[in-house]
Amino acid sequence: MITVFTDLFRQSVAGLRLLLVMTVLLGVGYPTAVWAAGQAFGDRADGSPVRVDGQVVGSRLIGQQFEGDEWFLSRPSANDYDTLASAPSNLGPLSTDLIASIGERRAEVAAREGVDGSAVPPDAVTASGSGLDPHISPAYAALQAPRVAAANGLSLDEVERLVEEHTDGRGLGFLGEPGVNVLELNLAVRRSVEGGD
């Protein structure tokens, strides 16, 4: 028994020394090397910031909360787009709370867009996995386009063109699903309004 503990002690000391060496290599050297090489990809390593007049107004990858008729609205979020608390709702498949909020969201979206509840797409009534989903489905964007066009004094054609322009297609043409980048779309709408003044 004593020899087991002697061996455990001896090997633990070796393990501690190896851990320290590896911490320098893997914990300092590796991330620094990735960072240095990652600079080749410019803004991407820094979170793909979106700038207006040189001022950062967000990241094209991170969703934002919008309120008001002049904006395209993002999906519901379990954390109100708080980047310091990324999270889903974690409500289960039978959750009566979830089913109730889906019903409320459906009614709310239908009233806001002036359509029947059955026309509201799934992403408009569900919270995302991160709470920071930067996209909405093309269907939800199409649903919002008439309201946004009217509130901004733009033609529906113009707004639909902007939606089209800011739709990220499927990766490589078939991976995942298409999504409309809400921040970039809203930015484009605002540019269009300002340009038309």
């Binding site: 087991v4 409500l91 498949p93 991976l175 995942g176």
Partner: protein
């Protein structure tokens, strides 16, 4: 492009590179662990650590090395979290509370990567890089080392030696995990994953303040998937756009978490000098994995649950850019490999989808399992399968030239009992406590499923969660940590003792009466044994949770 066609093409684009890397990567790994020469950098590591790289270790010594290294790692990782305020780039965060740092230290050292912490609000960058990410590498390398030691047990004859743990650990890290992670990390940065060392605050277009969280994410993300760790830089894990920005990075991450466990079956075959054996093992894993994927995809894409029906699609907890197909694929891959990363909320999966990923873990993390852990896990099941076959025909069971006697079966039996006992006893104790009801994020059967999922994930070293369960109470921090620790070290010690006992034996010649273990008959037999064992162990618990939910 329809969703169905896109989904099927996605699976094809995942399988193709796995097939392409199978032989070269598998054979490369076999060479890493059989080569007799040391790289210069490795010699430096050995010298600084004071280990003799050319000394062989028997089973006890090898196991002592693993246990000692794990315990030291836990203490160091706790200290780093506890004292993170004194480290650079602490983001102004205080030290992690004691039991949370214990849980997280055990979680990362055991390759579980259960998250009771929320990265963005709990951890500074140094604690993530020099603490958690280091264990992402090392815990993965430990898993492969143990698998390699077991393979040596089959290969060697009349020798108690299983290799040198420190050499296996160092080589796995430096020759396999580090270079692959570096390449993968750069691909992830190219896809938009963040790699910076600062947060920034700005005002959004609509005038709200928002923090753009930075951090050395890409480097950590790469090894998180490649090493089957799964602990997210952020709370939302791979659903977070900074960890997984596009459907392309999503596929890359799924590939990364499958590539080593799959190629290791080739390593197994090559080291055994019996490549068809590697393919037979891969067939078992692939068969079970495909069935699991089919069921989960059917449930998610078909929106087979009341909430999904109400919404029109199972999009609660899923990201728009991934959709149902890519979320189901990720969920099956991450639970089958003991990774535990998630790109969608598993708690919000349909009852059948959530139940299937839970069963993936209950299979014992062998479809295809964690790096290394999948290999030793399925080899233990293979021994059980030849034992059952031996009972049927009344012959002494043997596998890969080794006789399976009472001693080996004792280790195998204890191995197959250890993890389920931790899962079921842990779940039972938690459910018996009144306070657990308050910790559940959902009512009824799903609340039970959350607790069952937590202990299954912890004891099987997966790390994914039905995240609605609040696990920050001391009770869950401590019990889940103990489940992770025992669920890691008990099986490893038993596997190493088993390996030692096999290495001591001579080889039994193959005769006409030997059950071939590389043919379809045995593949079917092994699938059957795995399913029967899992079913007998977990059916009552599953009936109370996911099965009841699915029938509601």
């Amino acid at each position: 492009m329809t969703d169905t066609l896109g989904g099927l093409l996605t699976i094809a684009l995942l399988v193709a590179p796995l097939a392409a890397t199978y032989v070269p990567l598998g054979d490369y790994m076999a060479r890493v662990y059989t080569s007799t020469t040391h790289l210069r950098v490795e010699r430096a590591v050995y010298r600084l650590s004071g280990v003799d790289p050319d000394a062989e270790q028997g089973a006890r010594s090898y196991a002592t090395g693993v246990v000692g290294f794990s315990l030291v790692s836990i203490v160091v990782l706790m200290a780093i979290q506890f004292g993170q305020a004194a480290l650079p780039m602490d983001r102004g965060l205080p030290g992690v509370p004691f039991w949370m740092s214990f849980n997280t230290a055990v979680s990362f050292v055991t390759n579980t990567n259960w998250q009771s912490y929320a990265g963005e609000s709990t951890l500074g960058f140094t604690a993530q890089m020099a603490g958690l990410a280091v264990q992402n590498f090392l815990s993965a390398a430990v898993g492969i080392a143990v698998a390699v030691a077991l393979i040596r047990g089959f290969v060697r004859s009349r020798s108690g030696a299983l290799g040198n743990f420190w050499v296996d650990l160092t080589r796995g890290t430096i020759r396999i995990l580090l270079p692959l992670s570096f390449v993968a990390a750069l691909l992830l940065v190219a896809g938009g994953v963040v790699q910076s060392f600062a947060d920034s605050t700005m005002t959004t277009l609509a005038g709200h303040p928002q923090v753009l969280t930075g951090g050395p994410v890409a480097g950590q993300e790469a090894i998180k998937e490649l090493g089957n760790n799964g602990g997210g830089f952020f709370n939302a894990n791979s659903a977070h756009p900074f960890e997984n920005p596009t459907a392309i990075t999503n596929l890359l991450e799924i590939f990364l978490l499958l590539v080593l466990p799959v190629a290791l079956t080739r390593t197994l075959g090559t080291m055994l000098g019996n490549r068809r054996q590697g393919l037979a093992i891969l067939s078992v894993m692939g068969l079970l994995w495909s069935v699991s994927l089919a069921i989960t995809t059917w449930a998610e894409v078909g929106a087979h649950s009341p909430a999904a029906q109400a919404a029109g699609a199972a999009m609660e907890g899923k990201e728009t850019r991934f959709g149902e197909w890519a979320s189901a694929l990720f969920a099956v891959a991450t639970t089958g490999t003991s990774t535990g990363a998630v790109n969608a909320s598993h708690d919000s999966l349909t009852a059948t989808g959530g139940g299937t990923v839970l069963v993936n873990m209950m299979l014992g993390e062998i479809v295809p399992g964690g790096v290394g852990a999948g290999i030793y896990g399925i080899l233990v099941m293979a021994i059980l399968a030849v034992f059952v076959a031996g009972l049927m025909v009344g012959r002494t069971p043997e596998i890969l030239g080794k006789k399976i006697s009472a001693r080996q079966m004792t280790y195998v039996a204890l191995y197959t009992l250890a993890t389920p006992a931790l899962v079921l006893v842990g779940t039972g104790i938690a459910i018996a406590r009144d306070s657990s009801a308050d910790a559940m994020g959902n009512a009824g059967g799903h609340g039970f499923s959350e607790v069952l999922y937590a202990f299954t994930s912890a004891a099987n070293n997966n790390g994914s969660a039905f995240g609605g369960l609040t696990v920050t109470s001391d009770f869950f921090q401590i019990t889940l940590a103990l489940a992770m620790l025992a669920g890691r070290l008990l099986p490893i010690v038993l596997v190493l003792l088993l390996a030692g006992s096999l290495a001591e034996q001579g080889k039994v010649p193959v005769t006409a009466g030997t059950l071939p273990t590389h043919k379809p008959l045995f593949v079917g037999m092994l699938v059957g044994v795995i399913l029967i064992m899992t079913g007998l162990t977990y059916f009552p618990a599953l009936a109370l949770g996911p099965i009841a939910e699915a029938l509601t």
